[in-house]
Amino acid sequence: MASISMTVNGKSVTGTVEDRTLLVNFIRENVGLTGTHVGCDTSQCGACVVHVDGIAVKSCTMLAVQADGRSVTTIEGLASGDQLHPVQAAFREHHGLQCGFCTPGMIMAAVDMINRYGANLDEATIRHELEGNICRCTGYHNIVKAIQAAANEMAGLTQAAE
């Protein structure tokens, strides 16, 4: 067993975990945030994507102890109060979700993608970048549209701020 502490969505959390405890289990069971999902156990589906120190990570493939002392953002921490993150808003606006199970991981992966590419996201790049996130409901069509729209919007917001 190991004692760990980390920041999750801006709040400090501590816990005692088995060495084999995965970050996703720590988030779901110890911290009680169930928006991060487990879909495949083999690091393929991406339902478990969170950000660790600002970088997208599959939380089913990282030990909780590896996140000790680091800053984790989950889907629950993405919006600012009632203000949805532009990627969240775009998923709703473009019907980028159906059952909602893959959605938290999709959104967290998309935010990371937009952080890396900015507005330079064309359809082919988005589709290629989504290889680590599986959706069974949408056929990806509207997810791609949502990410592209959010990327454009965020680029516009950035320019406006400059």
């Binding site: 999902h37 156990d41 589906c45 889907i75 629950e76 959104i107 989504l130 409901c137 990806y140």
Partner: protein, 783 residues
């Protein structure tokens, strides 16, 4: 059309919780003192269980109990059932073996459950499961369906000699034989429909909880039909009487059929909770367990002959199919290769004689049951591969051969039970051809050829029967349940509304579309309408969501209840405004006296119903009405799909250059949601055609595709953006004129893809999934 009414592209009410991580799925639920269950599963495809020693596991840290099939039998918990009786052509009933929730004498597929470990934590349960010692006598296994009925093949169930569950037929054999005997040309095909795993992204999960004081069970479960689950677990498995068993289906993360069925794991979670004194028991599948236990889909081998006259009109269609139902008969498995398959073999075509013979067999594989489309994709694949191949061999354009044989007048009675009520097949054919620039294909092919690529185009003209179905009709065909739907409309005193429905969304957006219907009728804003579903304590009864039935059947029930609410509200309004009831109209949330300026907002009428200070003489207070709706027929969506591919002859890789889907779904409530349903269906169909296939080692019976490392799910860069459009003939069979859209994409797309590939590379057939290796081998003559 109002901004929130029928036909409006309203964003979904349910989305906020999903995009903010506040969805509530079964595995998200943590009950007080909850334990965790892990199953010990058979590593063998077929074996006798000689002994099970649980002593070491029971002594392991954190273990609460370890239970086996003997414990289950000792408590007289019954086996799982198949709810649709099929009779063989000789009149004998299907031969179903027992399906215990935990095996006790024999295991029949890899993954069959032999014990369950219940512990304080999942890791403790996993560790202890490793300590359960099971002694097996391994038996030879039968995996391949084609050999299942061969003499000397291993026997899966003693009740089904030669592994034959039923040998069923439909249609007029003599007429079909005669038609083929007189045909000018006969086209023959041997078609395999590959076995698939449905793979909803949310793994199955169940929490059983027993209240000792009340002698009452609660099940939280990933199910598409909580009431059917309660009925089966109560009446057949014998967990508890219905009033002592509550089934809750919270948010469900996709289903595609796999979550219709009543499985061993939820049975065990309920029973085990009582065994351990009432502590809740949770089980959640990991993905490999999902591959080993979620019912698979498809898995047909078919030989078919289609006869044509000298003018290329179809004269007869003769089909022989062997369907693999796996090791046990799942809840609705028997209906899939029979009434959901062979009744659609007429497709969009006027075929005077059809005969189909279907043999269903047991094998030592995961049970097979309904998966998105369920029987209709198999029928469509067979028929549309046949039409395309026939066109090539008869020397006629595939479009023209189809047009020549289209049904053009309705209603149309097919030779295989179905009576199509409405359709216009030429309308979506023309639309799809225009949208895909079919006429310009030759130029595109030449352009591809100049780059060393092989371009092909393929069509698929599908029809499906959905909105299942008239209860009397399905009852006469063997269904053990009625397939109506129920609804209750509860108007609150302040005018907000709760709709209770027996349908249950697992991604379809009912909370939005059902509210749109109410908005259309009563003018109440959709944010003042709550859809209540997925809980047998709240909704009295319902048949659930599958077979594209929630619109055509579920919403029709809401219409019937709204009719009653509206009638009562009009009576009250007429009384309050001293007008004739016949003069009251409802517009924009107000009840008006036609031709005057007298009006009352809906909420005031609702309030009047509950204050009851001034109601018409003899009227009961309140404004709440329920209805049951039983459809008069199936609905018959249809469409034309065009797929265009480019094949790299160096690698065998297939790229989809465009995919056009023109569907006739009748009236549409929310086009955004309908398009989304089509997109998802297309990706699943393209997955079947290019990527997906459950694979077994036919000697050992080991599942070779047991994770996403081995089973290829469609990723974003495997599919194109889709060009989706609609034509419309209104369905005359239900009050909203709707047809159902949930399965079309998965039904229509596989033959379009394979027709395009075979067109591109110039081969007669290629089996699904058409992987690069297979396509390359076909091109280079090594198939």
């Amino acid at each position: 059309m109002g901004v929130e009414g029928i036909g409006a592209r309203v964003t979904r009410k349910e989305d906020k919780r999903f995009i903010t991580g506040k969805g509530r799925y079964t595995d998200d639920i943590a009950l007080k003192d909850m334990t965790q269950a892990v199953f010990v599963r058979s590593p063998h495809a077929h074996a006798k269980i000689l002994s099970i020693d649980v002593s070491k596991a029971k002594a392991a840290p954190g273990v609460v109990d370890v239970l086996t099939g003997a414990d289950l039998a000792g408590d007289k918990i019954g086996g799982l059932i198949c709810g649709w009786m099929i009779h063989s052509k000789d009149g004998t009933p299907m031969k179903a073996g027992a399906h215990p929730a935990i095996a006790f004498d024999k295991v029949r597929h890899v993954g069959d459950q032999v014990a369950v470990v219940i512990a304080e934590t999942k890791n403790q349960a996993r560790d202890a499961a490793e300590l359960v010692e099971v002694e097996y006598e391994v038996l030879p296994a039968i995996i391949d369906l084609a050999g299942a009925t061969a003499p000397g093949a291993p026997q899966v169930h003693a009740e089904a000699p030669n592994n034959l569950i039923y040998d069923w037929e439909i249609g007029d054999k003599a007429a079909t034989d005669a038609a083929l005997a007189s045909a000018a040309r006969i086209v023959t095909m041997d078609i395999v429909n590959n076995r698939l795993s449905p793979n909803p992204m949310e793994p199955r999960s169940a929490i059983g909880s027993y209240d000792e004081a009340e002698e009452h069970f609660t099940l939280y479960n990933t199910t598409q039909n909580p009431h059917v689950a309660r009925l089966v677990l109560s009446a057949f498995v014998g967990i508890a009487p219905e009033h002592k068993l509550r089934v809750v289906a919270p948010d469900v993360g996709g289903g595609f059929g796999a979550k219709i069925f009543i499985y061993p794991e939820e049975t065990v979670a309920l029973w085990a909770s009582k065994r351990i004194g009432g502590r809740p028991v949770k089980w959640t599948a990991d993905r490999t367990e999902a591959f080993l236990t979620d019912c698979h889909g498809r898995d047909h081998v078919t030989h078919a002959e289609m006869g044509f006259d000298a003018n290329n009109k179809i004269v007869g269609f003769r089909v022989h199919t062997i369907a693999n139902l796996g090791a046990y008969m799942s809840t609705f498995s028997s209906s899939v290769p029979t009434y959901l398959y062979a009744t659609l073999l007429s497709g969009q075509y006027d075929i005077p004689a059809i005969h189909a013979n279907v043999e269903a067999v047991y094998t030592n594989t995961v049970p097979v049951d309904a998966y998105r489309g369920a029987g209709r994709p198999e029928a469509t694949y067979l028929l549309e591969r046949m039409m395309e191949t026939a066109a090539r061999e008869l020397g006629e354009d595939p479009v023209e051969l189809r047009r020549k044989n289209f049904i053009t007048s309705f209603p149309h009675q097919t030779p295989v039970i179905m009576c199509y009520d409405a359709g216009d097949y030429e309308a979506h054919m023309s639309k799809a051809l225009e949208a895909s620039d079919y006429a310009g294909f030759a130029a595109r092919k030449a352009e591809s050829a100049a780059r060393g690529k092989l371009r092909g185009i393929g069509l698929s003209c599908y029809i499906e029967a959905c909105g299942i179905a008239p209860s009397q009709a399905v009852g006469s065909l063997g269904a053990g349940v009625g397939l109506w739907e129920s609804a209750e409309v509860r108007v609150n005193p302040v005018g907000s509304i709760e709709i209770l429905t027996g349908s249950h969304s697992h991604g379809q957006g009912h909370e939005t579309t059902f509210a749109q219907l109410v908005n259309e009728r009563l003018g109440v804003g959709i944010n003042n309408i709550q859809i209540v579903h997925g809980d047998t304590d709240k909704v009295q009864f319902g048949m659930g969501t599958y077979g594209s039935r929630s619109g055509a059947v579920g919403m029709s029930a809401i219409v019937k209840a709204l009719d009653k609410v509206e009638a009562k509200a009009k009576k009250i309004a007429a009384h309050l405004m001293e007008a004739s009831e016949a003069d009251i109209v409802i517009e924009n949330g107000e009840l008006k006296v036609a031709g005057t300026d007298k009006k009352l907002p809906f909420f005031q009428v609702a309030l009047a119903a509950y204050t009851a200070h001034n109601l018409p003489a003899g009227m009961e207070p309140g404004l709440k009405e329920g209805a049951f709706y039983d459809p008069s027929n199936f609905t018959f969506p249809s469409g034309t799909y065009v797929c265009e591919v480019e094949v790299d002859p160096e690698t065998g890789k297939v790229e989809i250059m465009q995919f056009v889907a023109a569907d006739d779904f009748g009236n549409i409530i929310n086009p955004m949601i309908v398009e989304g349903q089509v997109h998802g269906g297309l990706a699943q169909g393209i997955g079947q055609a290019l990527l997906e296939g459950v694979s077994y080692d036919t000697e050992s019976g080991q599942l070779l595709t047991g994770s996403y490392m081995d089973y290829t799910m469609p990723r974003a860069d495997d599919v194109p953006s889709f060009n989706v459009m609609h034509t419309k003939t209104v369905c005359p069979g239900n009050p909203l004129g709707m047809k159902g859209c949930g399965e079309a994409g998965a039904i229509g797309s596989p033959p379009a893809v394979i027709n395009a590939i075979t067109n591109a590379i110039g081969v007669r057939d290629i089996s699904m999934p058409a992987t690069p290796a297979k396509v390359w081998a076909a091109i280079h003559g090594n198939a």
